[in-house]
Symmetry: D2
Subunit: 404 residues, 4 copies
């Protein structure tokens, strides 16, 4: 198929902050490096402030703007709605978009409450039956080293999983004077470290092992209960003003659980780990080997193969930049590493291929719901003296997909 023959895919995006910038870069870049089955048309960007959204659209490369997401999801030139807003609006926008016949990419966590997530997953199932695609943005799945980890587990190379050790460590509010943001507001964000970053490591643990958590015991903690109100925003942080306001979410979450295969998994999510900027660590010990990953060294995967003679066995530092590593062949020669935003581009690639194939693509809304069930169980355990809270399994077998 020549490039000009490709059907058009009109995209409309809601929200243009941190995630909006990352998604825009992905929509712009994917067609430049990958041979997509659709021609991407970045049709419209939506935000409530007309002047601000117009400036953002020019900067980020969107052809037009809307100030009401309801208008966006009804536009004929929009085939796919990309939801980059805080979690409190996910259900409303995503369900409306699906109802309007659009494909949907929704940022994580899927929703702020389990009930919202249930309704979204139900809407997605119905839409998938109509040939629509609904994907949730657990982008770290598409870091090449994480993809390779999944492949290695799937190939049986480390055997049945006995241990998962997952941590997401940041330090951007370790300073008690770091100002408030919507991420510290339960109304907007649903939860704190648990839903924002804990969700990622729960998803990664389930994705890489190919198993589900069947129950958890957990503990949430808020270390700093009041902070300065932010005056200006930049990245995750803003600058502090004179007023103070309450922190209404958890600062840190620790929990452990059991996987469907019987393995044990431990989790920690915190924004109070001084010196760890975005350390997403995943270690897996299986019956036949081990894997280790740390996003602070994102182009590397460590593999221990227990079938090797002990004399020369050791964790291999695989530099995941070879042409036959997942997604890598489209980029640069070996050793010329990728960065944070490449995962978003890979997400777009798989999403567009799924749209063209009329097939589901994981993480589906059901995958997102399953993460939500874990987060909910952790919260309930934390409120009930840390007692074990079972997590119900997914309602259906997951759809097969070209790329997980």
């Amino acid at each position: 198929m020549s490039r000009t023959d490709r059907p058009r895919l009109g995209v409309g995006m809601v929200g243009y902050a941190f995630m909006g910038a990352a998604h825009s870069q992905a929509w712009r870049t994917a067609p430049r490096f990958f041979d997509l089955p659709r021609t991407i048309d970045m049709a419209a960007l939506c935000g409530r402030d007309g002047a601000a959204v117009a400036a953002a659209a020019e900067r980020l490369g969107w052809a037009s703007t809307e100030t009401d997401w309801r208008a966006l999801v009804e536009r004929d030139d929009v085939d796919l709605v990309d939801v980059c807003t805080p979690g409190d609006t996910h259900e409303e926008i995503a369900v409306a978009a699906l109802a309007a016949g659009k494909h949907v990419l929704c940022e994580k966590p899927l929703a702020n409450t389990l009930a919202e997530a249930e309704r979204m997953a139900e809407a997605a199932r119905a839409a998938e039956a109509r040939g629509q695609v609904a994907m949730v943005g657990f982008t770290y799945r598409r870091v090449p080293a994480v993809q390779l980890a999944r492949q290695i587990v799937e190939e049986g190379r480390i055997g049945r999983v006995r241990h998962v050790r997952a941590q997401y460590l940041q330090d951007w509010i370790a300073d008690p004077e770091a100002p408030l943001s919507w991420r510290l507001d339960r109304e907007k964000a649903g939860s704190g470290a648990l839903g924002d970053i804990g969700a990622h490591v729960v998803d990664l643990a389930q994705f890489v092992t190919g198993e589900w958590l069947t129950g958890v015991s957990g503990l949430l903690e808020t270390f700093v209960h009041e902070r300065p109100v932010a005056e200006a925003h930049a990245g995750l942080r803003g600058s502090a003003g004179a007023d103070r306001g309450p922190v209404t979410v958890d600062d840190a979450a620790v929990f452990y659980g059991r996987l469907t295969g019987g393995g044990l998994a431990t989790f920690e999510a915190t924004r109070f780990a001084w010196g760890r900027k975005n350390a997403i660590r995943l270690e897996i010990n299986g019956e036949a080997g081990s894997l280790a990953f740390d996003f602070e060294d994102m182009n590397v995967l460590h593999l221990f193969d227990a079938s090797e003679p002990a004399r020369t066995a050791g964790f291999r530092r695989i530099v995941v930049t070879e042409a036959d590593h997942p997604f890598v062949g489209a980029w640069w020669p070996a050793g010329h590493g990728l960065g944070y935003e490449h995962g978003f581009t890979h997400q777009v690639v798989d999403l567009v291929e799924a749209v063209a194939a009329g097939a589901a693509v994981r993480p589906t809304f059901d995958d997102g719901l399953q993460v939500q069930r874990v987060l909910d169980a952790v919260e309930r355990s934390s409120l009930a003296d840390n007692v074990w809270v079972p997590v119900p399994g997914p309602r259906r077998a997951q759809p097969a997909a070209a790329r997980e």
Copy 2:
């Protein structure tokens, strides 16, 4: 004091396997590098098999032998009894030695049950009042990098502790065909990964933070329930025979708890982490900085100081081999690292100084008891749907000691 003027300290040791070899090396080596206030006399080694203990005594440097520990603890030329046997005999030997007026060094864990530990601690308190010293062998405290970590916390340099992340990962029974040993037998060992290696990380967490755990939620797991019976032993492992027997202890333990200062601590102890040989990992995040240690790189401590400008802040890789690092000045020039057994030598140094001073030295039996209380609480939580189990605090303030 010239060397020849020093009073003699007669030492009698019970047991001569892995721990006995390490302790012997320490008793032989300490006077060669450190200026001890006592002349060490390695008076007698005790074991049940007369021929075997005689051969061991010659190899390890003990002047005589006993085949009954009761005879050993009564010998006039023995001032200090060093207990290197499995946990099921600790109480009996240590209490008798204390009753006989001897100083005692007892390997960890202090005992196999909480009741035993309580009685031992009580005996030690009484003996300390008579000027005797009773120490428990949590040797990893005296790795110089761990000592430095303690000093840095004590100096307030990382501020109040918010997070402890402690893991002890091994792989020596990850192979289901690795044979049985006394360490997998509940009668001898009391528990498995929890008491053998989990005890170390609980002690390290409490030592370095200077805090106690006030409660825990935990989960124990046995992955492999039956193994070949061992025929010969070498190090931790033996070679497998044809018969099979049951594993009666836990293979892995995961738990989290809260520290007296309000911080959260997570723990994992497992012998099923392929590729991790003796990975004792301790990370601490405080209000003002962080520390990280991994025994796989035992001469190094990582420190993040949050007071530095972000532009040039970063975890410092401190090579703990400088002359002014704890214990290091007695050894080699900077960069000429120490090994596993040096911690045992340092333990002897502090113990002998305490004996000479008539003062207590930490870890006391009360410290060992406090670890035991945590282990016991983890076991009870694991049996009770992982519900929170409070850990009672120590009965008395700890004695001040020259070296912790």
Copy 3:
């Protein structure tokens, strides 16, 4: 200045292989993340094969095509010519473009011979006097961690430089059956490891120290003299055909030299270091501290500050992803690392700012020439029993520039 008011900058690029793809990504991306003083118009792409260049232009985002670079450099809508061809054509294209009044960005190494480089630098000096900008593409200078290293040296924080230890290690032709490419052909490439990758580490050493090499002793080596002819190309490598042809360049270069400040510098460039994919390593030891960088962990810079007390001194692992690190603020929050191609975007940013300011930007063609002089001296030393070959200093003081 609002975006629409910005003057247009028409860009024409020659070549569209590996470097062309990287430069295109930079031209597309720079305006999305940085506030440039010009509106970039990717006006024309030039290549000899009309159909191929048309396909590349569509994929890479260029508005039109040319098949003769002479036509390109004469186009009125082209203000800047970006030269991404092999080294044997650099002089001809760059000099013609400068003569036609265009700004020029020329890939490294500046030229294949010293004579060519001398003429190019002369042309650039004349053009700069007319307000044109000529820059050579030593992109690794603009990796944020490298920029930070330069700032730290400039601030005097590590003191006068005593040692530089620079290596560029790859393994893409370590297999003797890896096929030929233009990079192994002296006619096209000028030299092998020396000019392709050795040039980068010479430039980095001179850039970060702010000094020049005053002489060198060196040795070149070709390990594999004949290889299969390539049939298809992908990245740096192609697939092997049945015929064989000669390798006419060096496979590896080792050399050492002296810096203007008296320090010693050692260099190694090789494509035969199995397991090292793109390891650009730079260590600098000064009178007051040290720096270390390895492109295999490109978002990290290690700093040792000798003014710290030895007890807590250590190499700091600075994660160079903070908002106040060079170029980083425009991208993502802390810890969300950048990749290989970001250096190209930063190069475009500084280039466009220089064009707008009518000022020179480093690395100038004189900087490129100075690298060439070092490479030439290494080749001559290698041919003359490794005797010391002095390197003449730059003809003039370097122009001050907003960003080095």
Copy 4:
């Protein structure tokens, strides 16, 4: 053979500073962990100051003392003379001891001049013909990870060697106010960084590759020409006094050479690398794989095996603490790492086995001479505009030995 039946080996040691302490620890410890064919009798320690040597003998475990080395080498109860003095006395003592029929262990470098080393090697050859053993103390050969590296090269696993990258980096005189010591005095030490630490990496490169250097080009440098005179000594450093004196040796040496197999080797030895305490780094790239070692992480060897599929290939971090690793089985379980002094113990083990077998043991004095030839060639190259200086090969094939 039972322990008591073993023939006695009387040892006399000359010198009791840093090296004397390390050797003493080895003589004391070897019989405790290894089954030696001789009973070690630490018969006599020799030093010029009678009171000081008596104190040292007591502390280090020697049975008697001498104040004249001539008396020591004539003692009937001394079978082996261990020379731990500065290099200017090596020839005199070692040759006399060999003439007196003693076995000799001589610290490195073998001698201060090539002529001395030639005479010593000649004396050793004659003595070996009489059944005596002469060994030079390149102790780092017997770090288990280095031994494993040698085995892996010998087994052909990394193929023919193309590159060696060897560095020995320290910082103990990086401070210009660090005081003088005999190591900075040409009369005593022969040379500076070159002979003290450069000798080690030359030996390691030749040992691990099993090849010789055939020629070199090199450069020596003294950065600091005058320093305070030392008042007291501790480890490598002393404390500074008010007077100043000249530094008469090199502070740093850089050189490259060619191996007998055609590979290239680069070397750097410096005491001015701030933050590197005792970084002995050795990287080897062969036709089929690579090895990397750094003494700062001495229990680890990194191996890249190019025969593995690129998708899961990577440098393996081998923790060299398994029972079947060289020397390791005698010590502790896996993961319980060794330290600096263990290499000295291993040296004693092999030396005593050679004595019992009446066989040579490497490094022989010829091996030491060969290192000396390289150092001499580097010095001559440095004085002659860095021109290539050939290194003559060894006079004879090396003796086969149980352990290299």
